[in-house]
Every structure is written in C-alpha cells, then in structure tokens.
C-alpha cells in the first residue's frame, strides 16, 4: 500500500492507504479530524470543504495522492480557540442551527476573506453558493462574513 506524507494543521502525518482514497476519509477515519463532514461525496454540497495550500477544496473529491506534501488546513486547524475572525463572527451572529454544514461554510468563507478582504454580496454569493445548508442559515452566513470583514479592517 502506498505511503503518503500529509501536512495537516501544521503537523506531519505519515500514512499507508490506497492512492484513490478521498482526503475526506483519510481525515475522518484514519486521523480523527471529524470536523470535516461527509455530505454528498460528489462535490455538490461543500460540507467537506478544507484548505489545500490556502484554497477552499472539496476533500471528498480530492484523492490523497494529489495532496501529498501539500499544506492542509481543516476546521480544527483554522484556530485552536475559535479566534479566527470568521469563527468569531459566526459565534456573534449565532449562525449555526444543526451546524453540520458549518465547518464547510466556515472554511469556504475563511478562504474568501483571505483573497478578498471586503467582499460584497455578489462576491459572497459566488464563493458560497455551492455550500448547501438544509437549515437555511444563509442570511446569517452573509451577515457574519460582512461582520468578519469589518472586524478585520
């Protein structure tokens, strides 16, 4: 079985696993990073979003052999104490309902803020529209992104 070196949340993990295994299941089953969620397995819902070299990436569609050596960040590594501006604004706007999609929402929003410090509604729509939320928390997500941008200034 092939060996991979994964850099996750600034830690190095060496694992033996099938090369086609999606990163999602490596994170969840092999390494215990369960904050990253399985929603659809086909890149439609965004619940599995993580950062690969700073880019919001669907971990369910990313085979482990594509990220060997890359810098991976999961929700657990975004901050250790909810201190990331997006996490802070998510708390003050009380965004989550069931919360299941929220790690994916947060990771997508954090990547958006990284490349666009002051996104307008259209920017938010185009960055976030593939992150589905069955509870319908979209209005609070929008508010929280604006708030985080404001606080970051």
């Amino acid at each position: 079985m092939p060996k991979f070196t994964l850099r996750i949340n600034k830690k190095t993990h060496r694992i033996n696993i099938d090369a086609d295994t999606p990163l999602l299941w490596v994170l969840r089953d092999e390494l215990g990073y369960t904050g990253t969620k399985y929603g659809c397995g086909r890149g439609f819902c965004g619940a599995c979003t993580i950062h690969v070299d700073g880019e919001a990436t669907r971990s369910c569609m990313t085979a482990v052999d594509n990220v060997d050596g890359a810098e991976i960040t999961t929700i657990e590594g975004l901050s250790i104490d909810n201190s990331h501006p997006i996490q802070k604004s998510w708390i003050s706007e009380e965004v989550p309902q069931c919360g299941y999609c929220q790690p994916g929402q947060i990771m997508t929003a954090a990547a958006l803020l990284d490349r666009n410090a002051d996104p307008d509604d259209e920017d938010i729509d185009s960055a976030m529209k593939m992150n589905l939320c069955r509870c319908g928390t979209y209005d609070r997500i929008r508010k929280a992104i604006h708030l985080a941008a404001k606080e970051q200034k």
Partner: protein, 703 residues
C-alpha cells in the same frame, strides 16, 4: 404505555448525603401527538440535580437537531429555579432504564403541549423547597426570602445561602403541590435571546454528530438496499468487493446487503463492486401511474374528515361553482448528515450511538433484534445533523444493530448520500379534488375537499389518517358548509413525517384555492381572507401584520407582485407575503414577510432562525422539491438532481413575532406551510396562471 397520571404522582424527591437534592419530575402523557402521529407516548421528563458544590445539572431528554432545545429547554427550568443559565450543565439523556417519558422529538412539541408548564413547575418546585430549607435554618418565614442566581437571600437580615448548602435540608420538605410560578413580568431569561449553549463547539468543528463517533477497534460499514421498493436480495457475488483492500465482510441484513470494512471509503468501494441480483417483487410503477391511481381512488367517497352543514345542498344553491385539481410530489428529507448509527453488540449487552429523534424507538428496535431486555440496551443520543422527521424512523438503526450482531467490535454504519436519498420515508405525494360554491356576492357557501394520499400511520382502509388531512380538515375560514374526506392509497413507496407534515402540502392547496375564489369574486385576496377570519383573532392578527409590514396594496416596483397565505399549525399562527417577479420564465423571490404568533416566545433568536429556516425549507420544496418514481425506484440520487436553495437564491426574509404571553405554540414548523402558496399566489398575480402542482415549473411561468 399511555397513562394519564396526575402531576403529583410523578413528583418524587430523594436525597442521599453527599449526593444532594434530586428532584425528578416525570412529565405525564397529555394528549396525542396529533401532528406527528406518535402514539402512546409520554411527555418528556426533566431532571434537576443540584450538588453541594453548587453544580446544577439539567438533563435534556430531547434531541438537538438545530432547533435549539439544548438552550431553550434548560432556559425554562433555569428561569423558575433562579440559577445562572451560563453556569448550568446539560446532560443529554440516554435511552436506557431511566423513565424520561417520551424522548421523541417531533411535531414542534419540545416546548408546547404542556411541556412548558411542567418544565417551569420542575424549576419552581425545586426553588420553593430550597427557600423553605433556608427559611427554616434562619427561623424566618419563607415569604420573607427571595432567590437569585442559585442563592436564597433574606434581605432584612442581610443573610444568604447558596443552593448547594441547602440540598440535603431541602430534600426533607414536602413537594409543593402547586408551586408559585413567576409572573411573565419577572422573567429574566424567557423572552430574551441569550448565547446559544452549543454554538462555540459547532463553530470549532468539535461537536460530535452520529457520523463522528469513534470507538476503539471500530470498523465501518455501509448497506446497499434494493433500488425497487419492496424488493429483496435474490443472490449476490462478492468476489470483486472482497478484492477491495480493507473490506472485511459482506453479508445479508434484513433490509439489504452490508459491507464491513476498515474504513468508510473501503466500505463504499466494496459496496459498489458487489454484483447483486434483486428479486424485484411486483412494484414497478412510475410517477404518472401513481398519479393515475390516485385519480381513480378519488372517484369514490373517502373517509369523512370534516362535515359542517350540507355541502351538497349548498352547492345547488350556489351562483358560482369552482373546481380544481391540485397535486404535490413526494419529497425527500435530505438531512445534511446522511443516516448513520454506531453499534456495539456484546454477548449480553448492546450500546448504540445514534443521531435519532426517537431514542426509545431505537432502543426498542435493538431489543427486538438482539432479544435483550431494556436494561441491556443503551442508546446514546448524539447531535443530529438535521432531523426534519426522517430520524424518527429506525430503519438505519436496524441496519446498524444487525451488522453489529455479526461483528465482534463496534461498527459505524454510514449510508451513502445516494442510499439516503433513495431510501427515505418520503413526504407523501397527494392528489386533491377541491370545489367551492359562491353566492351572488362572491361569498363561499360550500367547500368540498378530497385528499388522496398514502397514510402516515398505518391503520385500515376505513381509518382516517389525520396527518394526511391536517391543514385541510381544519380549514379556518368561516364557510357554513364544509366537507373534507380522505381516500387512502396503499403503495410500496415508504412515506413519513416531513417538517410540518400535513400542512406542508394541504396549506398549498387550501391557500391557493381560497385565492382562486377571491379572484373569482373580484376581491383583494387579503381583504377576502380577512372577512372570512373574523372569528379567528389570532389568524386575523398575523394576516394583518404580514400585510402591513409588507406594504400590501401599495405601489410596487415594476414587474413585482405579491401573494399572501396564512396557516394555523402546531398551535401557532403564521402569515406570509411573498414579493416576486418573473424574469425569463424564472421566478425571482425578492422578499418574504413573515408574521408569526407562537404564543410566549422562549428565545427570540432561536424562533427567528427557525422561522427563516422554515421559509428556506418551504421555498426549496416549492421551487425544486420533487422525488420521481420510475419502474418502482426513486430517480433522484444526490443534490445535483434534488437541489437545495443556495445563498445566491436567498430572498430577504423579515420575521415579525407577535408579543404574547399565551401558551407557547410550535416554532420549528409553522412557517413552512405558507411559503409555497404565498409564492404561487404572487405568481398568479403576475401571470394570471394558477399553479396547481409543485414544484413550480418554468413552463408555468410564461405570461
């Protein structure tokens, strides 16, 4: 197990030195769970435990699935108990040997239906006993004491004692039969938004959902269920599946074929590699066949759901007749967290970790399958990644327990999204014949509504399925002659409770048809409804509030139109106005104005988010929701063909809550039903075309 004890019978106090005061209030079953069809249940229990170190533990016997019970229910207890909400500890109840009453979390019934009062009494009872203990110790009258933040105070002597110091004494007092409850003006928490107890862990990714459970030596599993409803496994070849690295075992379970592996991906890959021959049974209908079968059933009279006056006679007198056919499709729940459960079955003990709305149902299912007694089966309830009614069923529990019975370590079962979508208990598809007779002034004299649907509650051919007619048989309008009946269809397509249940479909029909009548009578649809709701002040009030806040009747932007709808559901009243426009045969939803009277609001922030969420849920159904059946199986499989509303399609949603100290009503469901008719009524105002089946199709939008 249904029993109706008086509250007093349930109040028991026990104390042991060092353990502290434990007051258990088992909450008696009060009325049938009308909306959700849960029979013979008890209302929930609540346990208050105060330790000598001033630790307050409140047990939560309901499942948290985003509706906020983890904050709102302890708030109610903490309010009357007078403890600091931010310092209480919440214990999620297991289904095991303790009697919590029904833990079923459905029908917007966690607060309403008597739980509100009994939770308050649970808190007030404890508080009164603590006050009595302090008063006795000081030699003063209890009335001269007050409580705040977990302490009893005697202001005139400037003395105080914490609850923790009084636990043993307090337990020696008699349980007050009728504890003094706070006047709403004294509420410190209730009616105000506080920080949600579980938000920070959700934002950090630390919340443990069912799918996140990890146990030592655990294996992973998935199940392939027969694509055709009612089918079964005839034979299978697992040679290729077993070649998948990590696959350990393949075997039949009652509902399909299980693959056990060392991780989820191997299990999924193994499942894909299985060659299965199905015995497809005799169900091979398409959606069109189903609709035709409903049409046939509608030709005969059904079971009477409501009969006011004499509809036949009144129809003869009417000056104008109207009739229409309305249809709604099957809908999937599509919770973001697919069905899953972790089970460990030992020789004489079984433990489950389950994201379930029905922990005791899960326990019963496991007892049946293992043959173990109740004390040998424990169900831990995890956070739920949405419930929506889907997780009140125990089919995935059955898969999980049967798998674990074949494996000697704990096993986490995860369904693929495709299995989840194609093996749901769908919101029933229905077919409706509806007619009305109006007098010369356009007032309705008679209303006749026939609902054809599969039952949610079993029963026999002549049983009225109350869930199927909820929202139809309780039509609120003052019409002298009303007849509603129900024709039962028995099909292999499994149906179940779906957020707001009956009203999710019937309100679309009744609120569209009353709109049709208003237009036929050449009246404003808001004014027309108003006249017919004179005797329903609550509904009238929300209707007027929604109209006022939306600017009903005022000039709109060019191309914009409005539609209105109102409903009484789960003890609450909700009216909505939708403002839309049609652009290139697509409906654009600009704004939904929602007025909700759910009685006393516990936590306004939660009610607001539940209401907005309900609007999104209702809009998703109106615009996209459709499960089609082809040759006996579900066509849709994932979010590409069963889409959900996205952030870019989110309209402005305004929520107006009616200020009220009335008995609380439901908050998680009543804003679902009015969305579809408010939108389709607005579409009619724009196009003159009446939409009588959902979801809205672009061909219906051409002017």
């Amino acid at each position: 197990m249904s029993q109706d004890f008086s509250r007093r019978d349930f109040l028991k106090v026990s104390s042991a030195v060092g353990v502290g005061l434990v007051i258990s209030v088992a909450l008696p079953y009060k009325e049938r769970l009308v909306a959700a069809g849960v029979e013979n249940s008890f209302e929930p229990n609540v346990w208050i435990k105060i330790s000598p170190d001033n630790k307050v533990v409140i047990t939560l016997a309901k499942s948290e699935m985003g509706q906020g019970v983890k904050t709102s229910l302890p708030m109610i207890v903490a309010e009357e108990l007078d403890v600091d909400l931010q310092k209480i500890n919440i214990l999620q109840a297991d289904a095991h040997t303790n009697n919590y009453g029904s833990m079923m979390t459905v029908g917007s019934r966690s607060v309403r239906g008597g739980a509100w009062l009994r939770l308050r009494e649970a808190g007030a009872t404890a508080r009164e006993m603590l006050v009595s203990a302090a008063a006795k110790r000081w030699g003063v009258r209890p009335e001269s004491c007050r409580t705040e933040n977990g302490s009893v105070f005697h202001d005139s002597s400037k003395r105080s004692l914490t609850y923790g110091t009084l636990t043993v004494d307090a337990a020696t007092f008699k349980v007050p039969k009728k504890p003094q409850l706070k006047d709403p003006s004294q509420f410190r928490y209730i009616g105000k938004s506080t920080v949600l107890i579980d938000t920070p862990e959700k934002v950090s990714g630390k919340t443990i959902y069912g799918i996140d459970v990890r146990l030592p030596s655990m294996l992973y599993a998935t199940v392939v269920h027969p694509p055709v409803f009612g089918a079964s496994v005839k034979s299978f070849n697992d040679r290729e599946a077993k070649k998948v690295p990590g696959v350990k075992k393949v075997f039949k379970v009652s509902l399909g074929l299980a693959v056990v592996a060392k991780n989820t991906w191997s299990a999924f890959k193994g499942a894909k590699a299985l060659e299965i021959k199905w015995d497809n049974g005799n169900f091979n209908m398409d959606s069109n066949d189903i609709s035709k079968s409903f049409q046939d059933l509608a030709r005969k009279k059904g079971v009477v759901a409501r009969e006011d006056g004499d509809v036949e006679k009144a129809m003869k007198k009417a000056k104008k007749h109207m009739e229409a056919i309305y249809e709604v499709p099957y809908l999937a729940h599509a919770t973001m967290e697919p069905m899953n459960c972790t089970a460990h079955v030992l020789k004489d003990y079984c433990e489950l970790w389950a994201p379930t709305q029905n922990p005791q149902g899960a326990q019963r299912k496991a007892m049946q399958l293992t043959g173990f007694s109740k004390d040998k089966v424990k169900v831990h309830v995890t956070q739920l990644g949405c419930g929506l009614g889907r997780r009140s069923r125990s089919d995935f529990i059955q898969d999980s327990v049967e798998i674990a019975m074949n494996v000697d370590v704990p096993v986490k079962l995860i369904w693929t999204r495709e299995e989840d979508m194609q093996h749901d208990f769908y919101r029933p598809s229905t077919y409706n014949l509806i007619e009305a007779g109006l007098d010369e002034a356009g007032k309705p004299l008679a209303w006749n509504h026939r609902v054809v649907a599969s039952p949610l509650r079993g029963g026999s051919a002549n049983t009225l399925d109350r869930s199927a007619v909820d929202g139809a048989s309780n039509l609120p309008y003052d019409i002298p002659n009303i007849y509603v009946d129900y024709c039962r269809s028995d099909l292999a397509v499994p149906v179940g409770y779906w957020r707001s249940v009956g009203p999710s479909q019937n309100t679309f029909i009744t609120e569209s048809f009353i709109d049709e009548i208003a237009y036929a009578a050449e009246k404003d649809p808001f004014e027309y409804r108003k006249k017919l709701l004179k005797n329903h002040p609550r509904l009238l009030n929300v209707l007027e509030l929604a109209a006022e806040k939306s600017g009903w009747g005022k000039k709109l932007l060019a191309g914009h139109t409005m539609g209105i709808a109102v409903v009484e559901d789960k003890g609450s009243a909700c009216a909505q106005v939708a403002e839309i426009s049609i652009e290139q045969s697509q409906v654009q939803i600009h704004r939904i104005v929602c007025a909700l009277d759910c009685g006393q609001v516990i936590h306004p922030g939660i009610v607001e988010s539940q209401t907005v969420g309900s609007v999104v849920f209702g809009l998703t159904a109106a615009l996209y929701g459709e499960i089609n059946i082809k040759e006996g199986r579900v066509v849709q499989s994932n979010f590409h063909d069963y889409p959900l509303l996205g952030i870019h399609e989110m309209p402005d949603v305004e929520v107006y809550l009616v200020d009220s100290n009335d008995e609380p009503g439901g908050a998680g469901e009543p804003a679902v039903p009015p969305v579809a008719p408010a939108v389709t009524n607005a579409i009619f105002a724009a196009t003159g075309k009446r939409i009588r089946s959902l979801p809205i199709k672009s061909k219906d939008l051409k002017v």
